[in-house]
Subunit: 411 residues, 2 copies
């Protein structure tokens, strides 16, 4: 190992994609170009795999118009990955970093890649390599600790809210032809994303009428009663569920036949939504739709939150400045400032304490009544999804009498 | 029955919703207000059901700002329906129309509601009721005959193209962590909507790599070979399938266990996508995602095609003018004008010949090679989805050598 701190920068992207994680990449690159501390900027292709195999792309000279285009591209332009670092691979990682004179490593990722980045920081220190390691947070799941929220969440949340408004109006219009919809969204261990559907609800009649979260063990009778009540009152009902929800006897997805059994006999299951759709079908005896936008919710650029895009860029830029100031083994956090107008600054969190941890929704956001969230959650989340959601018109409400004596109902 | 032609207008919405069918409603209302031929405008609540039950909403006095909001609302603000007209109900229908002095009936719908509207035109004539019946086309399926295309298709097609671009970039970024995605879109009897995914493809590497259409019996070996080839060449593969696709032994959805069996033993099945996902999983032994946006694809206003929104309004307005001119028992069609710049005018089609017919994709759009469409289809469809699709950046291509000798790859 050479002694002087390397003047080159390495960036990696890992974990599930978000609509704005390329914006964080651009933030890092832009800020690097502002300082004389650096020579080259490399991108690791498919994260850790690219480092191990020496596949580093020189992205120092990205033209400004290319950076703009990258920030508007979904996925991860460097390639992402889910590979975790095995202890015996550490020497190889450090060898590649040393060979490319990397003094600064920026890891754009979630809590799994925080673990890898932390191990690299510790490993470099042990081996005497002067390496600044900064973790740039991203995840649509919003489940990282030590930060107000995570870039990527706002855009996915905006998609989920808009999708909920849409499927709600569709089910309402279709009436008895297909009055119930179950919308399954992502969220491995936390319900933040499913909860964002509630941002779509302005009136009691609006979707969603029930949300199912990993944080709350589902009481099937209560769920069915909630859906039936909405259907009886409004003529339609919409539930939004996280992919992973547990009932008293375990994950709901596992209450169904396996979706696929591989050659080794491993069984793969659908998510909670399909099970819930079956449940409501058999209870209400009406047509129930089951929708699952999957990776669309994290890649549809038409639903990007402007706030989220701006913050993704911000955390990338801040990571570079913190590294220049001498920080390492840290994650850039978002810190909400007090005051009526939403504003966030950046801060630092110890990476070792972020790694592998999951931030579930706190009890004060879940409220007393099953299937809904509290006003505190709505106040927390609404600035994150960017500009105000559209207002839709409604001409027909179930309480109207015919012929309608007053002519037009209030909007 | 009274003799003079009624001066009131009735509008109904029916069938599956589109993102712009409220725009057609607004088009009818706006044009009605331009003429002295009319008194009141009524909306039938949930289509035929509302007529039969006398639930007609007076919408004559919608304020301009309300009309704007309605046009931006998904679903059907009057309520839609799938009820078809039984012969014994005809007297009741005509009684309601006569009672409300309806001289003009505008049916916003697809090929099922064309049938009902046609029967009403014939029935009114037989009974001596002077009724102008105009059908205002809408369907995301684009399967109506006698029209270049159908309002609703352009916006759903834009959603499908954007969603395909997004899930493609996501699968590409994730690489071996989840390299294959099957996206199931709507399309009951025709593949127009699934085909619109191909508008997202600029380079051979881009998604989609295979599309499955109701018009083409799926050869599973050819499909698997196509998906495997894409995966081997590009490191990821995306197929877009219509919900209804047939294999040699019938609908693909029915190759699976039923999704639900009701109390009468009726079996309900998933669509083609879930079956295809199982097929690819077992063939390639990699993680395959199955995404199904469902009603999101016809209700997400963030993906509305400006061309589609404008044409939806246009057909509504034209229907009123044709009715004033004395036409009846007709559908307003869209007629593409010759010339390099895309432009459409309206025309008329005999409603009796539209009713119940399905326009499948013609052979010249399907081409020789399975799983793709022809350039002719792309030229046909690309103006319909509105403003140009975004351009995304790509830094990594499978053919690159490491270390990359030329630095940055071409964009």
């Amino acid at each position: 190992m050479h002694m002087a701190k390397g003047r080159n920068v390495l960036i990696a992207q890992s974990g599930g994609c978000t609509a704005v994680m390329n914006g964080s990449l651009v933030g890092v690159v832009e800020e690097v170009l502002e300082h004389r501390d650096f020579d080259k900027v490399y991108g690791a292709v498919h994260g850790l795999a690219g480092i191990l195999e020496g596949r580093l792309l020189d992205i120092t000279m990205l033209a400004p118009w290319v950076r703009v285009r990258i920030a508007g591209t979904p996925g991860a332009v460097l390639g992402s990955g889910r590979r975790s670092l095995r202890p015996e691979e550490m020497p190889r990682v450090l060898e590649v970093l040393d060979k490319h004179q990397i003094g600064y490593f920026f890891a754009i990722g979630g809590n799994d890649s925080a673990e890898t980045a932390h191990l690299m920081a510790v490993g470099a220190k042990d081996m005497g390599l002067d390496l600044a390691v900064m973790h740039v947070p991203k995840t649509i799941d919003n489940d990282l600790v030590f930060t107000d929220h995570t870039p990527g969440y706002g855009s996915a949340g905006r998609f989920v809210a808009l999708a909920t408004m849409g499927v709600g109006r569709d089910a309402e219009a279709m009436g008895d032809a297909s009055p119930v919809t179950i919308l399954e969204v992502m969220g491995r261990d936390a319900g933040w994303l499913a909860a964002s559907a509630c941002l779509a609800k302005r009136e009691e009649m609006d979707a969603p009428h029930y949300i199912c979260l990993p944080e709350v063990t589902l009481d099937e009778n209560r769920f069915l009663a909630g859906m039936e009540e909405a259907y009886r009152r409004w003529g339609f009902a919409v539930a939004v569920t996280a992919e992973n929800v547990e009932g008293p006897s375990g994950p709901l997805g596992r209450q169904q036949e396996p979706y696929f059994v591989d050659d080794f006999g491993h069984r793969y299951f659908d998510g909670a939504g399909r099970y819930l759709a079956q449940l409501v079908t058999s209870h209400l005896k009406v047509r129930v739709r089951f929708e699952k936008p999957g990776t669309i919710q994290r890649s549809l650029m038409a639903c990007v939150s402007d706030t989220d895009a701006q913050e993704a860029n911000l955390v990338g830029q801040a990571a570079v400045r913190y590294a220049i100031e001498g920080h390492s083994d840290s994650m850039v956090s978002l810190v909400r400032l007090p005051g009526r107008k939403y504003q966030c600054d950046t801060g630092l969190a110890p990476l070792g304490e972020v790694a592998g941890k999951v931030r579930a929704m706190p009890p004060e956001y879940l409220g007393d009544s099953a299937g809904q969230v509290t006003r505190e959650y709505l106040e927390y989340a609404s600035p994150l999804i960017g500009e105000p959601l559209p207002s839709y018109a409604r001409l027909i409400t179930p309480g109207m009498s015919w012929p309608s004596p007053k002519g037009l109902p209030p909007l």
